[in-house]
């Protein structure tokens, strides 16, 4: 189905002829995703050809607005002409793809400015297509740093762009949802709403006032994937950066490494005899507030990040597996003075001794450790961990809660994963949970990484893992996991989580009566 000529011309008038396309090849470039599509998102003919389909169903057109007013006009036109829209920033996650005919894709790529870096009040204002690496690089020049979502620093720096926006440095500088300050939002009906201080005094410093606080409206547990309108500008809280203005990286791709580890920086990987002792060490480190990063990477993820290829990864994985004693974590310690750094490393030493941790020798090597350090500060790791193996997205995301429940859930999901590994349906990489703490342990997050080949049997294994993960998450009351998107899963988790889904639907209905904001990866406003 093509857009009616009149509608196409109206869109063209809004964004200009160079910024709209309904060319099939261009639509296919957008329909191509990093995940195997669910059957409902994939055309039968395409599935027949390839078995598993990475193309989602094409949308009607791609639109590239350059400013908020254009976004508003697009949204209003969609409401008027009965079309749906879905916006994305860098567009990685498959949930950003519109649900096919009757929908247009708003690609926010042209909205790519850093609008302000406010050193005094420690916030930055960005448009959606500023990536994390760009913002971080500019911030570091003035001694500041920002949270970057764990997906990687090629993703949007807009704090509301990704799921929860959690990442490698969340231990000390929190996540996107919590760092979100004032926001400019084009609502599903096309109103430009300015939240927090922006709504009353034209300042970006606060998300909740003076002015309207709509933090709980504009998103649910995770970001609505375009199901609640378009976020066009946002302020993010930024933090003190104790390191150099530019990390001293040298070498040629893919072997980048720092010429030296900056003063008052240290990275270590510790492994433990049990999950309990690792958890206790993480708890104590969090409580003492000594770490810059604290990530419970299982050893296959460390191997992925040290390796420059799959081949090398398998070799390093085999080598490191022999050295580690059990579950482990990466910790990065920094200090704004030698005295502070000495104090923190001394505390760490005592915690590790008390919890029977063992340092991984490879990470103590300045060259290897230094490379990992920068890779975890300027996150570029997740591609290697998840996609390099087979190209398919691979992880279960049990979500956010206190440390103990999410770790317990991730552990149980890992047991299911191990059964599938033993049947040869998933890559045998040790089957460990991957937890980390945020805000020095106030919040926690856990994931279970898996790698699979796109064979029917392997895919069935993944399907089984996902279904079992849902059952376990419901049973163990560990919060609403990240993977809960769409009506079907919300209807599973809502009844066991204060019937939040009823309220989410009411919000959706109130703010989007025409259902114009594509809800395929959010929740629809159907009546209960």
């Amino acid at each position: 189905m093509a857009l009616e000529k009149g509608i196409y011309r109206a869109f063209e008038d809004i964004v200009g002829p160079d910024n709209i396309s309904e060319e099939p090849a261009i639509l296919d470039a957008y329909a191509w995703t990093g995940i195997v599509q669910k059957e409902k998102n994939s055309t039968p003919a395409a599935r027949k050809q390839t078995g598993f389909q990475r193309f989602a169903v094409r949308c009607e057109a791609i639109l590239l607005p350059g400013e908020t007013k254009e976004v508003q006009s697009i949204v209003r036109l969609c409401n008027k002409r009965g079309l749906r829209f879905k916006a994305f920033s860098t567009g990685w996650i498959g949930g950003n793809i519109p649900s096919g005919p009757g929908a247009v894709q708003i690609d926010l790529r042209r909205m790519n400015r850093i609008l302000e870096i406010n050193e005094k009040n420690m916030y930055a204002v960005v448009e959606p297509y500023v990536i994390g690496a760009q913002l971080q690089a500019e911030l570091m020049k003035v001694g500041l740093n920002c949270n970057i979502t764990g997906g990687g620093s090629q993703t949007s720096a807009l704090p509301i762009a990704a799921h929860w926006g959690t990442g490698h440095a969340a231990h000390s500088i929190s996540n996107g949802e919590r760092n979100l300050l004032a926001l400019e939002w084009v609502s599903p009906e096309g109103d430009i709403v300015r939240t927090g201080s922006l709504g009353s005094i034209d300042e970006w410093f606060c998300g909740d006032g003076p002015g309207p606080s709509l933090r709980g409206i504009v998103r649910g547990s995770i970001t609505p994937f375009g199901g609640m309108g378009v976020y066009t500008k946002a302020a993010t809280k930024v933090y003190y950066w104790p390191g150099p203005s530019m990390f001293p990286v040298e070498g040629v791709s893919p072997r980048y490494k720092p010429a030296e580890i900056p003063p008052c920086f240290m990275i270590r990987y510790f492994s433990f005899p049990s999950m309990e002792s690792r958890a206790e060490a993480m708890r104590q480190i969090s409580e003492s507030e000594i770490a810059f990063e604290l990530m419970g990477f299982p050893i296959p993820m460390i191997a992925s990040n040290m390796a420059t290829s799959n081949q090398e990864e398998r070799e390093i994985f085999a080598r490191l597996t022999k050295e580690v004693r059990g579950p482990g974590f990466v910790v990065i310690i920094t200090g704004s003075s030698q005295r502070e750094f000495s104090y923190r490393t001394k505390v760490l030493k005592e915690i590790i001794e008390a919890t029977d941790g063992t340092s991984l020798r490879a990470m103590e090597d300045p060259e290897i450790g230094g490379a990992q350090m920068w890779r975890f500060i300027r996150p570029t790791a997740s591609i290697r961990e998840t996609f390099r193996a087979t190209g398919d997205h691979s992880g279960v995301f049990p979500g956010h809660n206190e440390f103990a429940p999410v770790v317990r859930l991730a552990r149980d999901i890992a047991i299911v994963k191990k059964e599938l590994q033993e049947k040869g349906l998933l890559l045998d990489d040790g089957a460990e949970a991957f937890p980390w703490t945020e805000e020095y342990g106030n919040l926690s997050h856990a994931e279970v990484l898996y790698r699979f080949s796109a064979s029917p049997a392997s895919f069935e294994g993944v399907r089984h893992l996902n279904e079992e993960s849902v059952k376990l998450a419901v049973k163990e009351r560990a919060g609403v996991p990240f993977f809960v998107t769409g009506d079907e899963l919300h209807d599973v988790f809502g009844p066991v989580a204060s019937n939040y889904h009823v309220w989410l639907r009411r919000i959706k209905k109130a703010f989007d009566p025409n259902g114009a904001a594509d809800s395929a990866s959010y929740i629809t406003a159907r009546d209960e």
């Binding site: 261009i26 690496a133 990687g152 090629q154 570029t380 790698r451």
Partner: protein, 412 residues
């Protein structure tokens, strides 16, 4: 290899967008974050490496017709390989090769750009893609240099079509020959120097490239060349990498002039004649840098499984071993020269804009790309920009002239 042979490779693309930016670990600021001129200029995801990969799978599945718009997207790309490097610093997959196969598939199905067809026709008719008829070595007139059709030479200098037919560039080739002679090298040239054909390959005309390459190698074999030195980065890539890839080069050593001069400097056979007080910035040509790394043949198969491995292990071309240091070492050897760097350099340098047929099919896009690079060069505070490619030199000279940029352009 054909596009179908890259299906599994293309299915590795996870649409992460790393192909749009320089390797993130090297990113120093907001302004010069992008590595792909095509998506930086035209914005639609389809213009990026990942977008092209998605379209490549679409081609295999016959999901769309090869429309004029599709061809525009496909050919508004300098084939610079920036996407390829940025992808492969984390992933195990090829990006540039399948994009080239997409062009070859279009040519095979008769869907091409007329402006590029004319260049191809020129190659068939005259033996060169650009400029006048292949021929006379006026550019070398007056130099005491061996003509290889008359006398064999162990070292043969290949000027390249642009350098031979653009009079403004003659002085560079003449200077190169003079330096070689000063070092005591018995260097030869071919009066009827044939085009290497590399540009035809990058435009998708594989068969024409192979035909031309056969002719070129025949000429080189007859010349007695053991070492071929070229002043053209495009030709260097073709003669060194592509000819190896298609098992044509044999044992002949192929060097870019910067490699050879640097070798001669290190051997003490030539040295800088005078001090030059200048702050200069060096631009890495794509075909000398990231695309210029030696070709390592590999034959084997992918091992089925949950992680993509090869038997025997396969080393992907990641731009790691391109020619980066020799030009810089030459510059550093000149007293008074202060060498500075751009943010985008070496394996993640921004393209000059001229490659992949873009100069001919979309000159405005080529000029836009060159201006981006000139802006970056000027931001370093350098007095002059030095490069090692005739195509880059032309692009930058034109950009500086058109935009009134106060920067000198040099090539070695």
């Amino acid at each position: 290899m054909a596009l179908e042979d890259y299906r599994r490779n293309m299915e590795m693309c996870c649409r992460c967008s790393c192909c749009k930016f320089i390797p993130l670990e090297r990113l120093e600021g907001y302004r010069y974050a992008h590595v792909c001129p095509s998506v930086a200029r035209y914005n639609f995801h389809a213009y990026s490496g990942g977008g092209r990969i998605g379209m490549g799978v679409g081609m295999l599945e016959r999901r769309f017709e090869y429309s004029d718009t599709f061809l525009k997207v496909l050919y508004d790309c300098q084939m610079c390989g920036g996407c390829d490097v940025s992808c492969k610093y984390a992933m195990d997959m090829d990006v540039l090769d399948p994009i080239n196969e997409m062009r070859i598939a279009c040519v095979g199905s008769g869907r091409t750009l007329p402006v590029l067809d004319r260049l191809r026709d020129n190659l068939r008719k005259t033996g060169v893609m650009v400029g006048k008829r292949a021929g006379l070595s006026e550019w070398a007139a007056g130099l005491d240099v061996t003509e290889v059709s008359e006398k064999k030479a162990k070292v043969v200098y290949h000027a390249g079509c642009r350098a031979r037919f653009d009079e403004e560039q003659w002085k560079v080739s003449r200077a190169a020959l003079a330096l070689l002679k000063r070092a005591g090298i018995d260097v030869g040239i071919a009066r009827e120097e044939l085009c290497c054909g590399g540009r035809a390959y990058e435009m998708g005309y594989r068969e024409d490239f192979l035909t031309q390459a056969e002719k070129k190698m025949d000429q080189l074999r007859k010349s007695g060349a053991e070492t071929l030195v070229t002043g053209c980065a495009d030709c260097f890539h073709t003669l060194s990498v592509l000819y190896d890839r298609f098992a044509m080069k044999g044992d002949m050593e192929v060097l870019h002039i910067t490699e050879y001069l640097n070798r001669l400097i290190k051997e003490g056979r030539i040295e800088p004649a005078r001090k030059v007080e200048a702050k200069v910035v060096y631009h890495d040509p794509c075909h000398l840098g990231r695309l210029g790394e030696p070709y390592v043949p590999w034959e084997g198969k992918e091992i089925p499984g949950h992680i993509r491995l090869f038997d025997p292990p396969k080393e992907l071309r990641r731009g790691t071993h391109g020619v980066y240091e020799p030009p810089r070492e030459i510059l550093r050897s000149i007293p008074g020269i202060k060498l500075v760097e751009m943010e985008r350099r070496r394996e993640y340098a921004w393209c000059c804009g001229a490659g992949g047929g873009v100069e001919e099919s979309n000159p405005a896009f080529a000029a836009w790309t060159a201006k981006e690079r000139m802006d970056e060069a000027i931001s370093t505070g350098a007095d002059a920009l030095v490069t090692a490619c005739s195509g880059c030199e032309r692009s930058f000279r034109a950009s500086a002239e058109k935009n009134g940029m106060p920067m000198k352009i040099f090539r070695r």
